[in-house]
């Protein structure tokens, strides 16, 4: 169990971080497009 908690879990968290990094760029770009389209 200690192996899962100390190695696998950190790797999962870092993987999620990369996923959200990509998703956030897309989300912020969407907001910018939305703001510009209403100018």
């Amino acid at each position: 169990m200690i192996y899962i908690m100390s190695v696998i879990f950190p790797l999962i968290a870092m993987g999620c971080s990369i996923w959200i990094f990509i998703a956030m760029i897309s989300y912020v770009s969407e907001i910018r497009r939305d703001i510009k389209s209403h100018k």
């Binding site: 200690i2 908690m5 100390s6 950190p10 968290a13 870092m14 971080s17 959200i20 998703a23 989300y27």
Partner: protein, 467 residues
Amino acid sequence: MGTITVESLGIIVYLLICVSLAYVTRKTRSFAEFSVGSRKVPTSMIFASLAATIIGPGFSVGFTTKGYSTGYVFYWLVLAYSVQTILVGLVFAPRLATFRNCHTIGDVFNRCYGKFSHLLAGIVSVGLCIGFTAVIGKLAGHLLSGVTGWPLIVTSAFVTMFVALLTFSGGIRAVIANDGAQFIWFSIIIPVTLLTAVFKNPGPAQEVAARATELTNTGFAGMTGAQILGIVVSFLLGETLTPPFANRALAAKDESASRKGFVYAGLYVIVWLGICTTLGIYAHQYIPADTKPDDVFLGIGRMLLHPALYGALIVAIIAVVMSSQESLLNSASVAFVRDILSIRGKLSDQSELLYSRMATIVIAVIAVVVAQYSPSIIEGLLICYSIWAPSILIPLLIGLYVKDTRSSAGWLSMLCGASTSIIWQTILKEPSGIPAILVGLAASATGYAIGHFWGSLHIDETTEVSK
């Protein structure tokens, strides 16, 4: 370059990232954009925002402290929180997402039980958010004060007001964008700290595993059944669908995004608490035995990491605090305008937007003042927990599914639940160790039943969208 300089540099870079995100998302044209992001938020950002809001100082620094002193005891008990989040995702959040003309929990109460219940839900929502903001702000103040040496009142005011300035213009879109950045930061740095502890560990992993078992067994042996029940119930029910979480359900682009966002966040909490607890257990391999449990998190970081990474770790703690405070402030301002200010008559969209922005700043100032008089952090959180669930949960969950509701059932349930819970906790001091939440929920259910059979049928006047 000295450690202090690197830390300060890290904090400045991080704050600049936050300001940049707030700047690019600052323009909101309508109250719907400010409060629920025009209901266009995708699964990934609902997940990140929920996870960032859930993971406050208690679920990071606090769990490392608990891991250091009692092994995995709290990890197993607080998994109740993950179960709650996953259940909300599977059952309630998609249902809440169908209330398309609602911006707050209070709006849902208005649909189900009428204006008086709407007002009560608004007062509880705003009060709860101010309480949580104050408690978290105080803890953030302590952490920042430890790094900068500034007085507590200055550091807690700085953090809370900075967060308010980030979100007052862009509303929930700015909150979610910043939540994303904060999630990325702390989900890299804190796992890296644990991995560093694992790979630098001079002894065998079995030694750490044996210590974890010993700490956990000793921890459980030192607890009574009532204490265990109290912790599980508080974490299972205390934060269920509180305003920031309900706002995410309402902001999701569809029911599927709402459901998946909550389920993923619940699963992530399992992973996250495991990381923070294990970091506390590994700390025994590195830091002196007489280290105070509260100093373990920063102590192991200082011991293991390069100064630049240690600076990033401090920034990660600030990110953890800010992400929770942002969501609370946004929810409080929206609930204040929608559930309290608008109760006597509908405001125009632009007035709602303007008042929400002003309310963000005013509520932040109130939270700073409250923080100076608030009880200890844990006590403050427990008081907040014991009010929310007994007053809101039963009428809300019934209202989501039952069509023929009674106005009196809503307000009677809320008043009975909240008053009983507060009296049980603060005056009677929880006799026999029975948690105030359970007693309050029983009173709330009784009040609901009486109101349902006694009252007349409530007719929903908001006919724009059917249930």
